[in-house]
Amino acid sequence: METRLTDAELLLLGLVDEMPRHGYELEQLIEKRGMREWTQIGFSSIYFVLGKLEKAGFVSAGVPAGAKARKVFSITPAGREILLQQTVSALGAYRPSSSSLLLGMVHWQSLTLDAALGALEARLSSISQEIDRLESVRRQRQPMPDHVEVLFDFLAGQLAAERHWITTTLDYMRSKPC
């Protein structure tokens, strides 16, 4: 059966592929690179996931040098193979994500026009805040490699598209004859 890694497994495997790392270092890196914002991975689950990857033969743990030394995890050839495979599929396969917007718009007519417009205006304001937050994260996290910069371009582009859609829709709904 084909192995499918969870998002947390794929994330840790990729970080260990950059260079051998220990659990605490991975924890710090996930924090520093802001990966906690988009992955469900807690500090305790890092060790749990590393243990799973080790059991599956995708990472190997070096024997600590002293009693207090930390276990260093390295990727194995099998781990590297699955990392490449699943990264290709993560990039290549479109995974639809549903937005609360779908349900909200479907039930538009259950609201009064004022309540519906008010809710969409609130969404516009949170989108604008998110655009500002993303820009501030981007400024604070310099330097970022090019492939991460373009990822921020992608996120900013999505938010800008949503903002444009909301303003157009607000205009349209406001002017629609009742």
């Binding site: 950059e18 260079m19 051998p20 400024r139 604070q140 310099q142 330097p143 490699p145 910069e149």
Partner: protein, 209 residues
Amino acid sequence: MLGDGLIDLTKDRTLLRTLYAPPAGGFSIVEVPKLPFAVLDGDGPPVQAAIEPAVKALFTAIYPIRREARQRAGKSFVEAPLEILYWAQDMRDLAAGNREAWNWRVQITLPIWADADHLARSVSDMQAELQGAGPIRYDVTAEGRCVQTLHVGPPAGIPETLARLYDDFLPRMGLEPEGRYHEVYLDDWSRVASDRCKIILRQPLRSAQ
């Protein structure tokens, strides 16, 4: 005048490769032209705890310029690498690896349209993110005739290469070091294992006196 007398490395790809993508193994002599830089002078010995924040501050300071460069250049945008110059009052301290006596400077090449005013605007735009950072300034330097090589692997292997350069290659060629020893870091050490890290080692030269 904007970019006065400066060569646009993004247009001269041969020179760009010569300066920033030399082959590994062996020393080559290159002529390094006048180039514009954003620079930040180091404070105290070059220890990791001092270099890391300086590097971050420099990249942060040029972020608006880098962003504009990406927009202007589109597909032909080239990411400029981090460079560090090292020097000592007594050059023997440099050769002997007495790092406490070393001075250092972090620098990144700028696009030729980014002049001193442009950099000052960029720094002022990023002021909130640059709290506590040392002064970042614009500098144009021409290293002239240099010897360089590409080092691949952990920095611990660099002294051996430098010993071959200073004790064997340069005397044989009738050359002497003149000016600041220079390293160009082609990889981000927080993302690439040190045994795969590429570093250009460069030394400006003069003919032996």
